[in-house]
Amino acid sequence: MSTFEYSEKVVEHYENPRNVGVLEDANGVGVVGNPTCGDVMKLSIKVENERIVDAKFKTFGCGAAIASSSMLTEMVKGKTLDEVMEITNKAVAEALDGLPKVKLHCSVLAEDALRAAIDDYRKNQKNKH
């Protein structure tokens, strides 16, 4: 897991991660991963009119996992749920100017976290009705 294969963008996001934390008024939260495997990601989103108006993350994981989470929050903010459904792990990795092969699973984790947060939002919506 050579850290020297990290792009400048990964390092920058790792060092200055955007949107760290938990949204007080989130209406969708996804927690994925497993500490046994070395990474856990928690994504909280606030959806208004089928649009993500805010997002925050907390991540236990390597530099790539933190950068992927940070990048993901940037990518989803302001987009509609339909739009974000098109964000794949590949898109996250590309937005970071690529990830080392052994670190690609970190972007998968980010995608999973997004799906989980949206599922949670939908479930919450259903339960309300």
């Binding site: 897991m1 850290t3 500490p35």
Partner: protein, 403 residues
């Protein structure tokens, strides 16, 4: 500026005194020690024999013929295990070892297992120290070797060599120790410790890469791994790595002299680091034994933080998460696992391998860096948040493993 090197278990810089003594043998004294018809060969041969004597001194061996030069400790370890099995007449011979050995022991045993060799893992305690009774219980007619390392490269735990050697001797079973991490840090004495075979790697004790040695007690035989020109009394063929061997010899001499002053100096730095972390940062633990450990090793777990991310944060320091050889893979340390550290915590561990270049100032800076970044990363960690809420992350029902 390059980071401050604190990965001395992976490799060490060459001591300038070692390089100095090697240089003429990389230049005008380039002969092949086997060339007996001219002075080039003679000069090389004399220098090699002087180096052999230096290794004899370090180990308190009896005879220069007991030292076989190899290319690294991996080779020495392979040689002993495979060479002992090759000459053994026992069916399904058994070798006693422990689960925290270096891969050069464990993976060699795995290969031998396919030939019917049985690996018997003696019990270890939570510090990684072998249970002597467990060794005794495992010994039987088919036991052909006990191989237990002098010191662990990840957690620094020291093994009770003398007691193991005593047991081996009483049962007339050869005893091998991988002393790679121990030499120059603690005294290893093949006589007093009843050691029959011992592996050395020069580059772990401020010597050059590409050279190692095997101590082979007189009267004990193993089959060679490399056949050929018959160098090293036929036990290890191949043109001798003259500059490397000379470097190993000098490194051995220096290692011997480091046992008094330098080992103590580093031990103080290590204690400053360990105590500093445990006192200043909550939810940290020391892996390995508090006192029966290498003077230069501190292996610490920082709960709720993934190790690599902390390493990335401490970029002024060169440290690693475990043995260099396994850090290319994503698996957590088998050594930490073997002493019962849960996987989540294993992922939160960093190995600090101190060395000659490290100073008190380095430790002060390191402690500040760790404190600051552990806080930063915990603030970012969902696990820390859960723990704060009273949830036990190790008992929490996580989703299935994805990779």
């Amino acid at each position: 500026m390059k980071p401050i090197y604190m990965d001395h278990h992976a490799t060490t810089p060459l001591d300038p005194r070692v390089l100095e003594i090697m240089l003429p043998y990389l230049q005008e004294h380039f002969g092949n020690p086997s060339s007996s018809t001219h002075i080039y060969g003679e000069i090389a041969k004399k220098a090699v024999e002087a180096a052999r004597e230096q290794v004899v001194q370090l180990l308190n061996a009896q005879n220069p013929a007991e030292i076989i030069f190899t290319s690294c400790a991996t080779e020495s370890n392979n040689m002993v295990l495979k060479g002992a099995v090759a000459l053994s007449k026992v069916e399904n011979p058994e070798i006693i070892t422990i689960a925290t050995e270096h891969k050069a022991i464990l993976d060699t045993l795995k290969r031998l297992n396919r030939q019917g060799v049985v690996t018997r893992l003696a019990k270890i305690d939570k510090y990684g120290i072998v249970d002597l009774d467990s060794i005794k219980e495992m010994i039987n007619d088919r036991t052909i070797l006990i191989t237990i390392q002098a010191a662990n490269s990840e957690i620094g735990t020291l093994q009770p060599l003398r007691s193991i050697g005593q047991i081996a001797k009483e049962h007339n079973i050869p005893f091998h120790t991988d002393a790679v991490q121990a030499l120059g840090k603690i005294k290893v004495d093949v006589e007093k410790d009843h050691i029959d075979f011992l592996s050395i790697s020069a580059h772990k004790m401020y010597g050059p890469k590409g050279v190692g040695a095997l101590y082979l007690r007189k009267g004990h035989r193993i089959a060679p791994l490399l056949d050929g020109g018959g160098q090293e009394r036929g036990v290890r063929s191949g043109t001798l790595n003259v500059p490397g061997i000379i470097g190993l010899g000098k490194a051995a001499e220096i290692a011997g002299s480091d046992l008094t002053g330098e080992a103590d100096r580093v031990r103080q730095l290590r204690d400053m680091l360990i105590n500093g972390v445990l006192e200043r940062i909550d939810q940290t633990t020391l892996n390995g034994h508090p006192t029966l450990r290498l003077p230069n090793n501190a292996n610490l777990s920082f709960s709720y933080i993934e190790g690599e991310s902390l390493i990335l944060a401490c970029k002024a320091f060169a440290v690693s998460t475990g043995s260099a050889c396994s850090s290319e893979t994503l698996k957590s340390s088998y050594v930490l696992k073997a002493i019962g550290v849960p996987d989540s915590l294993a992922h939160s561990s960093i190995r600090f391998g101190l060395g000659k270049s490290n100073t008190k100032e380095d430790i002060t800076l390191l402690l500040d860096t760790l404190e600051k970044n552990v806080k930063r990363l915990r603030d970012m960690s969902p696990l820390y948040e859960m723990a704060q809420q009273g949830i036990d992350v190790d008992k929490f029902e996580w989703g299935e493993h994805k990779h």
